[in-house]
Symmetry: C2
Subunit: 358 residues, 2 copies
């Protein structure tokens, strides 16, 4: 297998602190399993760049990145300097849309050694995927204001769902469910309240399910589904949801499994026509930045997901993925741990400990 | 104080099972504290009525109800017979909008005797309000389909936020926060993803906060806020949110506090120009209907909220409210309990036990 070219974008805040640990572990895995990974760092797509240039990225960002096999991404956002909708729409959301990374795949797993906020749960009890639509839906800058600065002021906010967009994410989710032992899919909507788009989503689920007679499926309104994540997380296997609902459920799920500090995600272009992007679920966390105490596991785990995707079943990549996961689990159990997990280790110490196990 | 006229609408499913218990307790409280409550039952706003008449309510529903002081409401929805968006838009959502019940007030409280799914929490640790905007926002039937039944099919879904709608719910929430010992308000938005409406909400929060220098406030993206409900529910006091986010957070909150089976809500028209509505947070639960095992506490607690609102500080009403809450707590601790709480009691037995304590 040839060299894989990976674009590295650390972004803002703790993105800059966890990225070196992600790279440290990937380099260790590459050395051990003979993978050819070539990293190229980009100093844009962050709020410092915005302050200097008035935009998050150079005009030719698409051309600069499109030839890479993957983007390894930290976190973007520094709300004191740049409003979040500007920094995110100018970087991450652009990548997801323009590189057509229509699947946001987010494992929710209670890992050994991680204290669980839910009473009486043990590793194995919580182990599912949130499959989030990643390019359309509620995430939208379409709309506007009327009667601005008057008492009659009014805001219209459009959400857009296309058959193509809905069907392809449902298909991915049903395929994933089919590949898993439980073969169970749950769809999240809110069709009793949101009267146009959500009944449409329900209709498409029903149509898609007809092609997967071997997959059991159900659907929940997102409010009660959120409650069930807390009350009976064991019952989920593959949860498919719109951009917004997937966003909420994929923060809530990892919280139920202990911490969002370790949750990874893959923004996939399954056709591989353009680069996919791998990033922690957590954000740039301005409140803890600068202390080198951020938990690097989400970044490292996202790297393992990247290897899995790049390797397409190549044994060395599978081994590298599994070895990283094993190293993560070992360190979660025996330490060192960052403060969010009750330890006193630094980001660097935890990253080095994981790398040392490879 | 004169007679209070209360419209009783049981609705569908377990709404029909918990309503008699709610009424039983209210009647007991009225007898003990000398309240004049007059109940009038309506046999519409349910899916049986829809099957007979092709609509959820008679054409003159507004005129029939507008003179009541309050509506005591069970639950609506029977998705096997009537799609949820039809049954709900034809009843509950109409009430909320046309009676201008713009505040949906939902206490989230860990009660004594209720097993908490979160490890290590005890009564007192979780005690906050979700204040939900109840008339506009994401709950919308505005929008439509294009290119129907083709590959290009496309759905537009509009959300509408008005300055009046946003400001009045924020004002209610800030006033509530000011009245509480912690004086703390949290606003939920998602301004990094939903680029028009949510930054607007953030702006209005900032403007409103200027009038409440004594209230500490913060804002969270709803995804991380959902995670915080699980990881640190102690830190919340008053959480204000849009219609959709309030809906999600007010199912999630009660789940974190043990069960949505006991969570009440008040749909308030604070100006009292039209009736307010009091209902459980839970739905009609077709899966358990017909067994008389539904937990009646949410219905009973909603009744207590109704007395509190109707009484406007009148000592007898305050006493009745407090006595019902005390009776609920006593039964939660010593039983009898319905199966959702680990017991074997029926809905009726639990309701009778609460009423007997009055
Ligand atoms: C039944 C449904 C329309 C309703 C809502 O979403 O508002 C319910 O979930 C609630 O929270 O009262
Ligand atoms: C930063 C933000 C735009 C992003 C999202 O909402 O998609 C994040 O919360 C995530 O889940 O990846």
């Amino acid at each position: 297998m040839s060299t894989h070219r990976i674009a590295v974008i650390a972004g803002d805040g703790i993105g800059k602190e966890v990225m070196p640990e992600g790279l440290r572990v990937l380099r260790a895995a590459a050395a051990r399993f003979g993978l050819q990974l070539e990293f190229t760092t980009f100093a844009w797509a962050n709020c410092d760049y915005y302050r200097e240039h008035g935009q998050m990225m150079p005009a030719d960002w698409f051309d600069q990145l499109k030839g890479f096999d993957a983007i390894y991404f930290g976190a973007v956002g520094w709300p004191d300097a740049v409003p979040d909708h500007i920094s995110l729409w100018g970087s991450l959301i652009k990548f997801r849309r323009e590189f057509d990374q229509y699947v946001n795949l987010r494992p929710v797993r209670l890992m050994p050694g991680v204290p669980c906020p839910l009473a009486g749960k043990k590793p194995g009890d919580i182990d599912f995927y949130v499959v989030r639509e990643n390019t359309e839906g509620e995430y939208s800058a379409v709309g506007g204001r009327l009667f601005e600065h008057t008492e009659r002021e009014l805001v219209l906010q459009e959400a857009v769902f296309t058959r193509k967009g809905v069907d392809r994410i449902l298909q991915f989710a049903f395929e994933l469910a089919r590949s898993r032992p439980k073969k169970h899919l749950t769809s999240a909507t809110k069709s009793n309240g949101i009267a146009i788009s959500m009944p449409y989503w329900d209709e498409r689920v029903k149509a898609m399910a007809a092609h997967y007679p071997d997959v059991r499926w159900d659907q929940y309104h997102v409010d009660i589904l959120a409650a069930r994540f807390v009350l009976s997380p064991e019952r989920f296997d593959v949860v498919v949801a719109s951009n917004l609902f997937g966003d909420i459920l994929s923060d809530l799920g990892p919280a139920c499994a202990g911490t969002i500090g370790i949750a990874p995600s893959a923004n996939l272009n399954p056709e591989r026509t353009l680069p996919s992007l791998f990033e922690p679920v957590h954000g740039s966390a301005p409140d803890i930045y600068g202390q080198n105490i951020a938990n690097p596991v989400a970044m490292v785990w996202s790297g393992a997901m990247m290897l899995d995707f790049l390797g397409k079943g190549d044994a060395r990549y599978v081994q590298a993925h599994d070895a990283i996961m094993h190293a993560i689990e070992t360190v979660l159990v025996q330490g060192p741990r960052t403060p969010d997990m009750g330890g006193t280790a630094s980001t660097t110490e935890m990253g080095m400990a994981i790398a040392a196990l490879l």
